[in-house]
């Protein structure tokens, strides 16, 4: 299969066999960007010439018998907070408007090492500090399912690029929801691996202890392929985990018979749109039919996890941007400036109390999860809403169900699980145990194989 909505897993064998040309793929992706991105605003920068040069080099290498793996010659996009050598990197902020790094972020190095073709940089919520990608400096990014709506955020541009068939996969970052929630809003897959699994080196921080790097893709198999290329220890990242990475693609189709999955009703379904509740309940049934046991159980201290995550983001973001806020406040939107100022209102004692509570929450959550393989929840209790009329109470709800797993560092994925009556996608979140991305992906793949949500694409 080819075409804009083919998956990496589908095209990789054809590329390896010389049946699909990386140059043709890159040209088609660039043509699609040229045709649709004026309306969607997914890309901050399109590096067309560099992409074509990379595609030609990739193609020549394959022709010479040196195929380097499933990302070889595949067009991908990179969120504009990852440093890219010689290419402007803004983090969606005027603070970095003219920053042209002289190095690549570790995740970008990994993509280049896998010979992926980088099409350009995707837009995001200002400083990744928000969940709508309505950027006051570079314009609102638009949801391809309904252009009047936001695509979620902060990795909104990456989600839109993948959902709209402009890239086969994209790099995102997630501090509270920023891979999974835009994936849910755009009807694609978003994987936030275990904390420390993928190097953050060269990614402009929002909150050091909560920031995660991961892929957005059109299928679970593609998320596994990108994860495999990106994961691994990096001594340049102070939070990097030196844990062995097992190939998640190997056991992807092994099924979920006998797996025990927690469905926590309390907290995660509060204020949930009825259509989303129904979709996640139906997803639980699908997993049960595939052989898993679904068990309802409340997770310990989950409301405190939300609160502690929030306080941690606020304090760490205020610390990282302290000088920027004081010396260049005019470069910040009113919204982000207020968030940074609020973070200044927390004391060192309060931050450390929050980290003590974080340890307790993590330990008790791991203890509760010991007999189980995974947790399922709605990715977000609310879908995308109109850019011009987003209900204020949706703000905290958009990241409520996801931030507990930034705080505790557990791996989590969002997969499409249906559409609202208004035609907007909804997401199912699957959370696993530390460093067991393989199980998260396996459960997600089993769900995906039993449903057809991932085969639906927006009409542009």
């Amino acid at each position: 299969m080819s075409g804009p909505f083919a998956t990496i897993a589908e095209i990789a064998p054809a590329i390896a066999a010389g049946e699909v040309s990386p140059v043709a793929l890159a040209e088609a992706a660039l043509a699609r960007i040229a045709g649709h991105d004026e309306a969607l605003n997914a890309f901050m920068t399109v590096t067309a010439e560099a992409a074509l040069a990379e595609a030609r080099a990739a193609e020549a290498e394959i022709a010479a018998g040196r195929w380097r793996g499933p990302l070889h010659g595949v067009p991908v996009a990179v969120k504009d907070l990852f440093a890219t050598r010689g290419v402007r990197t803004t983090a969606g902020s005027l603070l970095f408007d003219d920053w042209v790094p002289d190095f690549d972020a570790a995740a970008v190095e990994r993509l280049r090492g896998a010979v992926a073709v980088i099409l350009g940089k995707t837009g995001l919520h200002e400083l990744a500090y928000g969940s709508t990608s309505i950027n006051p400096h570079y314009g609102a990014i638009r949801n391809p399912w309904d252009r009047s709506c936001h695509p979620g955020g902060s990795s909104g541009g990456s989600a839109v690029a993948v959902a709209a068939g402009m890239a086969f996969g994209a790099l995102g970052s997630d501090t509270g929801c920023s891979i999974r929630q835009p994936a849910a809003c755009c009807g694609i897959v978003g994987l936030k691996p275990t904390f420390g699994r993928i190097s953050k080196f060269g990614a402009i921080p929002l909150a050091w202890s909560l920031d995660h790097v991961g892929p957005l893709t059109r299928s679970v198999a593609d998320a596994a392929i990108m994860y495999q290329a990106l994961a691994g220890f990096d001594p340049r990242d102070a939070c990097a985990a030196d844990e062995p990475v097992t190939d998640p693609t190997a056991g992807l189709g092994d099924g979920i018979a006998g797996r025990r999955i927690v469905l926590p009703r309390a907290f995660f379904f509060d204020q949930c749109e009825p259509e989303i509740t129904a979709a996640v309940e139906a997803a639980a049934q699908v997993l049960a039919t595939a052989g898993a046991t679904i068990e309802e159980m409340a997770l310990p201290h989950i409301a405190e996890a939300h609160l502690t995550g929030n306080l941690t983001i606020m304090t760490e973001a205020a610390t990282y941007h302290d000088e920027n806020r004081r010396t260049r406040p005019e470069k910040l939107s009113t919204e982000v400036r207020a968030l940074l100022e609020l973070g200044q209102g927390l004391s060192a004692v309060e931050y450390l109390q929050a980290q003590r509570l974080r340890r307790r929450i993590t330990q008790e959550l791991l203890r509760a999860l010991a007999p189980f393989d995974a947790i399922i929840t709605p990715t977000a209790p609310v879908p995308a809403t109109p850019i011009d009329n987003s209900p204020p109470h949706h703000g905290p709800l958009r990241f409520r169900n996801t931030i507990p797993f930034n705080l505790t560092g557990l791996p989590a994925i969002s997969v499409p699980c249906g559409f609202t009556g208004g035609g907007l996608p909804m997401g199912l979140q699957i959370v696993g145990k530390p460093f067991d991305e393989a199980m998260v992906l396996r459960i997600a793949h089993a769900y995906e194989q039993a449903t057809d949500w991932h085969t639906r694409h927006p009409a542009l």
């Binding site: 691994g232 001594p235 207020a338 100022e341 609020l342 929050a354 340890r359």
Partner: protein, 73 residues
């Protein structure tokens, strides 16, 4: 819960931000300041129960792999 008055929001701002906010800023802080006040109180409520808990350590200063610049990949 009834909506807080402008004056209540401004009092919270004075206490937490250490400055007066002008009326045009009230809406920006209307939901966030009360949240922060509740969050601070929740932390205070938890403190007596955290006697044996050290802070979570997510940054590791030293380990062998970092010291040698190597490690598994």
């Amino acid at each position: 819960m009834s909506e807080l008055t402008q004056e209540q929001i401004r009092e919270m701002a004075k206490s937490i931000l250490g400055r007066e906010i002008d009326p045009s800023e009230v809406e920006t802080y209307r939901t966030r300041l009360p949240y922060l006040v509740r969050a601070k109180q929740a932390l205070r409520d938890w403190a007596p129960r955290l006697a044996d808990d050290e802070p979570a350590t997510v940054h590791r200063l030293l380990d062998r792999a970092r010291a040698t610049g190597g490690g598994r990949s």
